[in-house]
Amino acid sequence: MDLIIIDYGSGNLRSVENAFSNAISDSSLKCKIIVTSNINIIAAADFLVLPGVGSFPDCKSGLQNIKGLNEVLSEQVLFKKKKFLGICVGMQLMFDYSLEKIKTSGFGWLSGNFNKIKTFGLDYLGRDFKVPHMGWNSLLLEKDNHPILRHISEKDQYYFVHSYCLEGNQSDQLIASTNYCHQIPAIVGQENYLGVQFHPEKSSLSGQKLISNWLKWSC
């Protein structure tokens, strides 16, 4: 099995590669990781991971700089049903559009859009809610029978760092959410494609558990 981490000039590729490689060896799966921007290799992959840090428009333009990548991704994911994971901005790109800096369209595989996290009031200790939403937060399991959530409970915490969040409540797409001033979608997806707003590659053992669930998931 080949797992592709898509290199489009954005993202902490090294960290993603390290975390996936560790999860693969821990769960004794047979899977080779390739970090590439070559669309022929991407088209031949079994599993696809799209990382993303930075702003939505920058990530989008990074993708567009690789000729044919958008089309190949949509074909592999929507028609060939390849297993896909979008991380942070990689997850945001799966939706219709984001309003970060300037309205920018995503792939439109899932419906919804991203807008600045709205905060009001104070937290349980009387502190302001800061943006970015930065740090470790737990999940509210919406579809607790989903294979990605195997052995994951509300005790597990994940590392979030984002200023924009998904708006529009498509409950059929929502697998888990998190609570920061209000409820924020944290794991979303449909069929063979999933996206996580947090960084599983930076989420210690809980992150490793989620990555290995995704690797073992037969969608």
Partner: protein, 257 residues
């Protein structure tokens, strides 16, 4: 609900930790990679490396430290010290750093904050501010550089606000007066900045025991607490800090996960 972060900081000089950890289970007390791994295994929510190497050549060893740490340490890594331009940012991020902190370089070239956040996103730009008390500054604190040795005539509050406007995603606020004294954080300074900037503020400088960390969260509203020496000597562990925080109603991440 978001946990309050406990961050372990390592001062690295020419690729070796300056204040070694006195733990029995470490083979090499001066190896920052081994120390970072131990901290992350015992519940540190983030690891912060501060490179205090004397020369640029020696600073390159930091790339190696970050790469090796990132191979097995799956928590966010922040690196600071000697970061002067976008190329330094790029190199550190490529090795596996998640955030880069700027301090003196932002004072001599404030544009670095805007340029780096435009390029790499504001989530990875940490503005580190070393503050000292100063009666001549409107907010009562002055920004210093070079480990507190050089005064800048810049007001800390204005500097923090300006940094955030330019794209810093977080403030690492150190009281140089409290630093190393182990008598508690500067609560007044931390509260002043926390309440006036929209981004997370990390309290640093002065932690002597777990209670100090509780105080700076409850009394000053810090989003995260950072400490170096109290962890190094094994007097207080990350888990004892988290236990104390939890006892005082502060949510923390379970050290086992």
């Amino acid at each position: 609900m978001l946990s309050t972060r406990v961050i372990a900081c390592l001062d690295v000089h020419d690729g070796r930790t300056v204040k070694g950890i006195n733990f029995v289970d470490l083979k090499d007390a001066g190896d920052p990679v081994e120390q970072a791994n131990l901290y992350s295994k015992t519940g540190a929510d983030e690891i912060c490396f501060l490179d205090i190497s004397a020369t640029y050549e020696k600073r390159k060893t930091m790339f190696d430290v970050i790469s090796k740490t990132a191979e097995s340490c799956f928590v966010p890594l922040t690196v600071g010290g000697g970061v002067n331009n976008l190329n330094d940012f790029r190199e550190l991020l490529k090795c596996g750093a998640d955030k880069v902190s700027v301090n003196s370089s932002a004072v001599s070239n404030p544009k670095i904050i805007k340029d780096s956040s435009d390029k790499f996103g504001n989530q990875c730009v940490v503005l580190a501010i070393d503050a000292i008390e100063s009666e001549t500054m409107p907010c009562g604190y002055e920004v210093t550089t070079h480990g507190g040795r050089k005064k800048t005539n810049i007001d800390v509050l204005n500097w923090a606000k300006q940094g955030v406007e330019n794209g810093a995603g977080e403030i690492l606020l150190t009281s140089m007066t409290a630093d190393g004294m182990k008598a508690g954080y500067n609560l007044h300074l931390t509260k002043l900045i926390s309440e006036n900037v929209p981004v997370p503020v990390i309290a640093s400088g002065g932690a002597g025991n777990p209670k100090d960390m509780v105080d700076v969260v409850l009394k000053s509203g810090a989003s995260a607490v950072l400490a170096a020496s109290i962890f190094h000597f094994g007097i207080h562990s990350i888990s004892s800090v988290k236990k104390e925080m939890l006892k005082n109603g502060i949510l923390v991440r379970d050290c086992e996960n």
